[in-house]
């Protein structure tokens, strides 16, 4: 699971073009859509793309994303469950 989480952090940085960050800067439980990273609704869509292209998981309704993308922890858990 921790390997998946590290992988996810790198993928998030790439998909969202967070040029100044490294995986070490994102904690497992950091609120991704909180104040620290300042992500927005466009990023939420990018997460959906990330899930499909890297893990083959499709999310049809963008509003489902809010819970899934809360943190790296919740993302990893969702992937494990749905792969």
């Amino acid at each position: 699971m921790s390997e998946l989480k590290e992988q996810l952090k790198a993928q998030i940085i790439e998909q969202l073009n967070l040029e100044d960050l490294s995986p070490a800067d994102i904690k497992d439980d950091t609120l991704l859509f909180g104040d620290e990273l300042g992500l927005d609704s466009i990023d939420a869509l990018e997460f959906i793309v990330l899930l499909e292209s890297n893990y083959g998981i499709k999310i049809a309704d963008p509003s489902e994303g809010r819970e899934i993308f809360q943190s790296v922890n919740s993302l990893a858990a969702y992937i494990e469950k749905n792969q």
Binding site: N17, E19, I42, L45, E46, I48, V49, E52, S53, K58
Partner: protein, 302 residues
């Protein structure tokens, strides 16, 4: 009367935040590069990560202008000939090559022409009139004409400018659609117009699509503005034209090739007036033979 309150250009010249670009103007070398500032100083990282070169240049230049004037802009008018080419190409490539159901939206969102003006309004928290004009080689002139309409309507802090970027793809069009040997370049030039007296005033700007006679159009424009060619101290043109003027320069020698480069010519003209003993500058944008852009600016004696 409409005066230039502030100005800012990012180009292949060392132009950003220079007191006068006139004194340091040099013809571009082959394979010149855009002289970009450290964008992190002007744009927060969160916004910067999504911005292509044209968006970065325009936003930094607009921020630079905002820092030089008091108060919020009460109108914003932007010109761009080809818009956000890098993101357009990126999104085109994405959907033409992917089989996936989901597509990355960022490049699409960033590809629309009015992303430039939109990003400026977002960054500045500005709620005023915000317009994006795109008319090929006269894109800056139409944006300027709109800005002058705003000023006449009573707006006193008008941001106007233009930006365009080069992408490698354009090279492939050379010879076929684009008849020029010049290097494809990028640039953003922004100005603030207002009623406070400053050293340079904007007299008039006009465009004409389907010109029958450039010389006739020039004569009519100058006559309309109580001027004649022998009063002009500097003519800046895009393609060589013999007007029998005191001094003439081809501004593309300093901008390279992009289609809103007359905005940089405006900056050159402004700084020429400020730095020399002169009174009138005339910009003849004959970059295309299909349409003409004419702009007259003058020194203001307080």
């Amino acid at each position: 009367m409409v005066f230039v309150q502030a100005l800012s250009s990012i180009s292949h010249q060392n132009s950003f935040q220079k007191d006068s670009i006139w004194t340091e103007l040099t013809t571009l070398e082959a394979n010149s590069e855009c002289e970009s500032p450290d964008y992190k100083q002007y744009i927060p990282a969160n916004a910067l990560r999504r911005l292509s070169p044209v968006l970065r240049m325009a936003l930094a230049a607009a921020q630079d202008c905002q820092s030089k004037v008091d108060g919020e802009f009460d109108a914003i008018s932007v010109g761009t000939a080809l818009g956000c080419l890098k993101d357009t190409e990126k999104f085109l490539t994405t959907f033409l090559t992917t089989n996936a159901d989901t597509l990355s939206p960022t490049a699409f969102i960033q590809s629309t022409h009015n992303t430039i003006g939109g990003q400026i309004s977002l960054a500045l928290g500005n709620h005023a009139y915000n317009m994006t004009h795109t008319q090929n080689s006269v894109s800056f002139e139409v944006a300027l004409i709109d800005a002058l309409l705003c000023a006449k309507d009573g707006k006193s802090n008008v941001l106007v400018g233009a930006a365009d970027e080069a992408i490698d793809f354009l090279e492939g069009l050379r010879g076929e659609i684009i008849q020029s040997d010049r290097q494809f370049t990028s640039g953003a030039s922004f100005f603030v117009l207002g009623p406070q007296e400053k050293s340079v005033k904007v007299i008039d700007c006009d465009i004409e699509y389907g010109t029958q006679s450039i010389h006739q159009s020039i004569d009519q424009f100058l006559a309309k503005n109580n001027a004649s060619i022998n009063q002009i101290d500097l003519v800046l043109f895009a393609e060589n034209i013999d007007l029998n003027a005191k001094k003439s320069l081809n501004y593309q020698d300093y901008t390279g090739l992009y289609y809103s480069s007359s905005a940089f010519a405006f900056h050159i003209g402004h700084d020429f007036l400020k730095s020399t003993n002169s009174s009138k500058v005339f910009i003849v944008n004959n970059q295309s033979d299909k349409r003409l852009g004419l702009t007259l600016i003058e020194k203001h004696e307080a």
